[in-house]
């Protein structure tokens, strides 16, 4: 029997891509989505955590600023510290950066407007739990939908994340002024991933390619291997 891994989807007040993320996870055999409240303090039997997109707390203040200080983020910090997979999509990425779990910050787009459009991207780092099914250099097409997606970090640390191969995804045509076209990145240990594009919106498709589903299928594969490893270690 395929083991079923619980993937926690965090709902902050104002999160609005929660149902879309739920549907995408449901499409992947072996993954079972579960809701996690913004007040939750216990990670239970979660195998991975996703922070979906939206406008947490209305984003009236600096984006992600309030959500990054809500009770569930202590749980997320511990969970990430222990090396478990954590994915932040769009607002989720902004919250992870604001919480200091991922490096850098997301500033307002250089064009100063919200941007909802498809972007051509290239995958660079495939060693994370969410990118195992890609080859380095794979072109993918995913939609962005954000007002604050301009990745920024000081020059020293930029050099550092480049050197350590933490850049996961780059835009082909930089839409928002991000430094070095960065659209997604990972932490030093490679278990926490932040993406400005929305993979959950390309998990099934009538016309185009469902490039987004591969991120979640990668997670299923990763968790599957993890549990096999744990089993063999136990024996």
């Amino acid at each position: 029997m395929t083991p079923r891994h619980h993937v926690g989807i965090i709902r902050f007040p104002g999160t609005n891509c929660d149902l879309d993320t739920w549907e995408a996870i449901s499409l992947v055999p072996g993954l079972v989505p579960v809701w996690v409240s913004h007040k939750e303090k216990n990670s239970g039997d979660l195998a991975a955590i996703i922070l979906p997109g939206g406008f947490s707390y209305g984003d009236y203040f600096r984006t992600g600023a309030i959500a990054a200080r809500s009770p569930v983020m202590d749980l997320v910090g511990d969970f990430a510290q222990k090396g478990h997979p954590v994915l932040g999509i769009c607002n989720g990425f902004q919250i992870l950066a604001e919480a200091g779990i991922l490096p850098g910050t997301l500033l307002p787009n250089s064009g100063r407007t919200f941007l909802c459009q498809e972007e051509s991207l290239v995958i660079e780092n495939c060693r994370t739990p969410f990118t195992g099914l890609f080859d380095p250099g794979t072109p993918v097409t995913l939609p962005i939908a954000h007002q604050e997606g301009r990745f920024f970090i000081d020059p020293d640390r930029l050099q550092d994340i480049e050197k350590k191969g933490q850049v996961l995804l780059r835009y082909l045509n930089n839409p928002n002024g991000s430094l070095r076209e960065i659209a997604g990145l990972t932490n030093v240990t490679g278990n926490v991933v932040g993406l400005m594009p929305h993979p959950e919106r390309r998990s099934s498709s009538l016309f185009g390619r469902p490039d987004g589903l591969l991120f979640f299928q990668s997670l299923a594969l990763y968790l599957e291997r993890q549990s096999l490893r744990t089993l063999s270690e136990a024996h």
């Binding site: 007040p13 104002g14 609005n16 891509c17 149902l19 879309d20 549907e23 997109g53 939206g54 406008f55 707390y57 209305g58 984003d59 009236y60 064009g111 407007t113 919200f114 941007l115 909802c116 459009q117 939609p143 939908a145 007002q147 929305h198 959950e200 919106r201 998990s203 009538l206 016309f207």
Partner: protein
């Protein structure tokens, strides 16, 4: 006018007299405030009501018609779509960002008040020329305001229309449409059941914003209207989302007897209108209303249009659970009154009564006007003129460039990319198409939404122009295989006290009513916006329609553009009357003696949808698109817009009137792109359904070449570069918006 008839709330003198005779006394301040709101054009429809009776809202699929927060039409065996459109023209002109954002919030509340979860938004925007800095700012801020609300609350803005025309410079139009899904047995109503009920307030606290907004929107602007900003409401999509989720939970648990959103005229209209529908009265204690500012006067509380508020009528045992839901959702809630058997509207503050007015005086006995109408006299034309149909006078290539270079003919992507059009992942056809298509995720069905608000045909001929708009919607829907199931409208007009405006209104309403009856489309909801007038100058007649159509199998849908070379292109549909009157070309040229507005070929129009259904079911098409704004050439450019280099090679027969062939917008025509091997099936289907079909050319990379013979049999050729045409198309609006510092 005598001194004592002067109203503090700008109620006209003769209506003040009527109030006094109804009451048998002078109204006090609070009562006068209540009358000013409920007798306003915005709330009472006093100038339009007798004409709106022409619309038919009947149909086998109609579950809820006019009189509710929104109309509901059945689309699957168990689900209905609730949809409606509303204007927010006046507030958007005064404060564009908040005006537009609250327009979106307001229409969403109408939808979820029915128990429907909103899944799609569209809009129709009309502005003055972008050459004026003021219009640039208004436009930029309106788009940002719509984006701010829709993106944040997580309802996708899937499409819309935009039009720039100097005649709207001082009265911009911002119309928002929303659509939601509701289980047939979960529909909520604004008509309360005959039980003892308490009035429960749920949502944002009440402040001074938007006080008297409905009355403001029921007057013309004058030059001194710079002090109206406090009458514009302030949007809070974050609270809006919490109120939406709380309301939907309350409805799902069956806790409320009736619900209405506190929109125009806020607490007053929602409470009085619900009581009136039950033939009962209602008592409100303003002391119980959650306030942001405790110093607010009773009349201010009654007239505040603070956003994100709902009024529920609830049986007493269920109040506790509602309070719990509100607390969990972190929104305010309070019992603010109760339904009473005595049909009066009574306003108390603690023990003190501030107003007591019989409910019928506020509703049934509100003024009803059959205002005089006088047809417009056409402007006399100068003696020397050239009809646009006069072939040869204009270079077709040059005209096509002019159509594309104007923001009205260019790509609207600068707007749509600011809207999150995909959140919810139900978007099957994204902006850039003539219709938005929403996945119902049930029985493989989908719903297509077509917007039509191009006013130029109505400027030429209000009655025929209005019919054209209905026919345009039906053509757009047919192009994706959808058949119309319901229509909503927002009728934007000038000052109804002017006989010319009233004549336009009556003709347009008749045109819409005739066309919808002929096609069997129920008009399930609607809205009228009068007084779009500044300094005595009214806007052109501008009804904006949204028609919803049903697709029985979403998997058969094809997009409106292709990137593939070597496809056959064919034109299906009428060639009965391709007159240019009222077209975009007609607007650009503005000839003194234009063509007449084309007559709709109803026969062909009715057969188009079944024909398209069969062709789509055969999976023979790669792309399809209705011939719309700008005519055949612009639609060709759009259908090859899937790739940056793709163009067309057309070979046409002898054309008696090339301008009509290339630029007519007569509805009832669809452009098809398909693999050549499918031609026999498509031609056979066209014959079976009696649809005229002409294969006109193929898609070719790097080529834009159109050959035809003119009236005298001379060979003609139009050549262009598809790459350059596409650059023109994408730059005409974006270029204007992005050049700013």
């Amino acid at each position: 006018m005598t001194a004592d008839t002067v109203s503090r709330f700008k109620i006209p003198a003769h209506e003040m007299e009527r109030i006094k005779s109804l009451l048998g006394r002078d109204p006090n301040l609070t009562e006068e405030a209540v009358f000013s709101a409920l007798w306003s054009e915005h709330c009472s429809y006093k100038s339009s009501r007798i004409h709106l009776r022409k619309f038919s809202s009947k149909g086998p699929r109609v579950l809820m018609g006019p009189g509710e927060n929104a109309g509901v039409v059945r689309v699957t065996s168990r689900t209905g779509i609730a949809f409606k459109m509303e204007s927010h023209n006046h507030p958007s002109y005064i404060e564009p960002f908040q005006g537009a954002a609250t327009g979106v919030g307001g229409i969403l509340r109408d939808i979820f008040a029915m128990g429907a979860r909103p899944v799609a938004l569209t809009n129709s925007l009309v502005f003055g020329s972008l050459r004026q800095p003021r219009q640039l700012t208004l436009f930029r801020r309106v788009v940002a305001g719509i984006a701010a609300y829709g993106n944040s609350i997580g309802v996708p803005t899937m499409g819309g229309e935009v039009w720039f025309d100097e005649r709207y410079a001082k009265n911009i139009l911002v119309n928002a449409f929303a659509l939601g899904l509701v289980a047939e047995d979960g529909i909520m109503s604004a008509v309360p059941p005959p039980k003892p009920l308490l009035a429960v307030y749920v949502g944002n606290k009440t402040g001074r914003d938007g006080v008297s907004g409905a009355a403001m929107a029921s007057r013309s602007f004058t030059d001194g209207d710079t002090d109206l900003r406090p009458q514009v409401q302030v949007a809070d999509p974050f609270v809006g989302k919490k109120v939406m989720e709380a309301t939907l939970t309350i409805i799902r648990e069956g806790l409320a007897g009736a619900i209405q959103d506190m929109g125009a005229a806020g607490l007053t209209s929602s409470s009085v209108e619900m009581a009136a529908k039950a033939g009962l009265g209602i008592e409100i204690d303003v002391e119980k209303v959650p306030l942001r500012d405790s110093s607010m006067e009773p009349w201010e509380i009654l007239l505040s249009e603070s956003q994100e508020r709902m009024l529920l009528l609830v049986e007493e045992p269920r109040v506790g659970r509602i309070m719990d839901i509100a607390r969990e959702s972190q929104v305010s809630a309070a019992v603010v009154g109760r339904i009473i058997s005595d049909p009066v509207f009574r306003v108390r503050k603690g023990e003190t009564v501030f107003a007591e007015v019989p409910v019928p005086y506020l509703t049934d006995q509100a003024p009803l006007y059959d205002r005089p109408a006088r047809a417009r006299v056409p402007a006399p034309s100068p003696s020397a003129h050239h009809s646009p149909s006069e072939a040869g006078r204009h270079s077709i290539v040059e005209l096509f460039h002019r159509l594309l270079d104007h923001p009205n003919g260019g790509s609207a992507e600068w707007i749509s990319r600011q809207f999150d059009f995909e959140v919810g992942t139900r978007t099957l056809l994204s902006p850039g198409h003539d219709v938005a298509v929403v996945d119902l995720r049930e029985e493989e069905h989908a719903v297509a939404i077509s917007m039509a608000g191009f006013s130029h045909p109505l400027t030429r001929d209000p009655g025929r122009g209005a019919m054209l708009l209905v026919a345009k919607c039906v053509t757009d829907l047919a192009a994706v295989g959808a058949w119309p199931v319901g229509l909503t409208d927002c009728l934007n007009f000038g000052n109804p006290e002017r006989p010319e405006t009233m004549s336009d209104f009556v003709l347009a309403v008749s045109g819409i009513a005739d066309a919808t009856k002929r096609l069997g489309i129920p008009v399930v909801s609607g809205n009228v916006s009068f007084y779009n007038e500044t300094d005595g100058i009214s806007i052109p007649p501008t009804p904006i329609l949204a028609t919803c159509g049903l697709l029985s199998d979403r998997r058969r849908l094809v997009p409106g553009r292709t990137f593939r070379a070597g496809l056959s292109l064919a034109l299906a549909g009428t060639s009965h009357d391709l007159s240019l009157g009222g077209s975009y070309l007609d607007w650009i040229l503005d000839e003194p003696e234009p063509d007449p507005v084309p007559q709709v070929d109803w026969e062909t129009l009715a057969r188009l949808q079944p024909f398209m259904s069969v062709v789509l079911a055969g999976r023979t098409l790669c792309a399809s698109r209705a011939i719309g704004r700008g005519g055949l050439l612009r639609s060709l450019l759009q259908i090859v817009s899937g790739g940056t280099t793709l163009g067309v090679a057309l070979s046409l027969p002898r054309l008696d009137n090339p301008l009509q062939t290339f630029f007519s917008e007569a509805p009832g025509r669809i452009l098809l792109a398909f693999e050549p091997e499918h031609a026999p099936f498509i031609e056979q289907s066209a014959r079976e359904f009696g649809i005229p079909l002409r294969t006109i050319g193929i898609t070719v990379p790097h080529l834009w070449n159109i050959r035809y013979q003119d009236r005298d049999g001379r060979s003609k050729e139009l050549s262009d570069s598809p790459e350059q045409l596409k650059r023109r198309y994408s730059a005409s609006l974006a270029g204007q918006m992005e050049e700013l510092p």
